[in-house]
């Protein structure tokens, strides 16, 4: 414990290993905690009359001011972070693609996530839809058809339609009070129309799940 006398206002003296308490008996670590948490100026009833505590709190508060100021700064997130994460996740997720056409020039494919994205954006425009997420999976049948066609490709049948079927699942959160059945049907209708218009997919199955409502 510090010996009674002048209040100490030197941090290194206050925090020397032997020191656990001030001359008044106050716990030094608790005073440091108080100051570091930003409450150096909010005295307890003891501290209001204690020159030892006040000197220590003032000094600790001064030393911690730059830390508190840095901690209060907003840290800008690098713009590339989200894209980098998305790109790595794409590599991890099975890279599913729909083959739209298989002709003599080669194959034209579109990633399933693009199909899901188009359906999701269509759903988000429907009144009554608050949140929508989309996922799409390549049907097993489509991949079998593609493999078979690649093996037995006939020049005359080159410009064909193949795998123009897609299955899209949409999970939506709807506005409470709306007619959910009508909202879901409108989501289905618009998603199908958009996929036909933008991608040329013919047989589109859009499963809509209304999994929550919010007011």
């Amino acid at each position: 414990m510090s010996s009674p006398g002048q209040p100490i206002d030197d941090v290194n003296l206050l925090l020397s290993d032997a020191n656990q308490h001030l001359a008044c008996g106050a716990d030094i670590d608790e005073l440091l905690e108080q100051a570091a948490d930003g409450y150096a100026g909010q005295f307890t009833s003891h501290q209001r009359d204690c020159v030892y505590c006040q000197a220590a709190l003032r000094e600790f508060g001064r030393v911690w001011e730059p830390v508190r100021s840095l901690a209060a700064e907003r840290v800008a997130v690098p713009a590339a972070l989200k894209g980098a994460v998305a790109s790595q996740i794409r590599k991890l997720v099975a890279d599913v693609r729909y083959t739209l056409q298989l002709n003599d020039g080669g194959a034209i494919r579109i990633a399933a996530r693009v199909v899901a994205r188009i359906a999701r954006e269509a759903a988000r425009d429907v009144p009554g839809v608050r949140v929508a997420f989309g996922r799409s999976s390549h049907s097993r049948m489509a991949s079998l058809v593609e493999r078979a066609a690649l093996g037995h490709r006939h020049p005359n049948a080159a410009v064909g339609v193949l795998g123009r079927t897609a299955v899209v699942d949409l999970a939506i959160v709807a506005q409470y009070g709306d007619e959910l059945d009508a909202v879901a049907r409108e989501v289905q209708r618009r998603a199908v129309a958009e996929l036909r218009r933008k991608v040329g997919l013919r047989d589109v199955t859009v499963n809509v799940t209304v999994d929550d409502v919010i007011t």
């Binding site: 941090v11 991890l92 989309g134």
Partner: protein, 194 residues
């Protein structure tokens, strides 16, 4: 405590902001990748910020934040929701940052100058601010890892001792003890600098 409750603050402005983290986690677990993209939108900043404070430089922080967010995606099927998504993410980031700390010991400046809007400050103030940021960064980076983690999570992230104990798999008294020692060391270093 300075900023209790900040852990559960949501970033606004994303399309999915009408729904809570638990909803997004469930959808992401079902394979809706865009639901996870919304979680990254909300909490990617947390991952980067903690990594930056623990590692002391942008380059490593960006790497570690990215690794942590990809790891979280990979481990999402096993996430049972016993803690909040941010708490779980804090765990992953802290662990990955710790791995990096034990591999490398070099620390550069935080140099946040370019990233922070500070329109009122003149060149002299910028230089002084740089020195302060460098001094605090160096002092934090010089702390032994357990003290550094406790100091960063409490004094920079505003988390309670209980939250830190949960994240680090430690006990509340142990967290308190790391904080006490970390504060003493940091105070002495910064007092000498001034």
């Amino acid at each position: 405590m300075a900023r209790a409750g900040r852990l559960f603050r949501h970033g606004g402005g994303t399309v999915g902001s009408d729904v809570d983290d638990a909803y997004l986690v469930r959808r992401a677990q079902e394979g809706y990748v865009d639901a996870y993209a919304d979680l990254v939108d909300r909490h990617g900043g947390l991952a980067y910020r903690v990594a930056l404070r623990l590692l002391g430089n942008h380059h490593d922080a960006e790497d570690v934040a990215q690794e942590a967010l990809v790891t979280a995606w990979q481990q999402l099927p096993g996430f049972r929701g016993n803690s909040s998504f941010p708490t779980w993410l804090y765990q992953i980031v802290t662990r990955r940052a710790l791995n990096r700390i034990t591999r490398t010991r070099v620390t550069e400046s935080l140099d946040l100058l370019g990233d922070v809007s500070d329109a009122g400050a003149g060149p002299g103030q910028h230089a002084e601010r740089d020195l302060t940021v460098d001094a605090v960064t160096a002092a934090v980076s010089a702390l032994p890892p357990p003290q550094r983690i406790a100091i960063v999570l409490h004094h920079f992230e505003g988390l309670s001792n209980a939250e830190i104990a949960l994240i680090t798999g430690s006990s509340i008294p142990a967290v308190r003890s790391h904080l006490f020692r970390g504060r003493r060391t940091l105070s002495k270093t910064l007092a000498e600098w001034r």
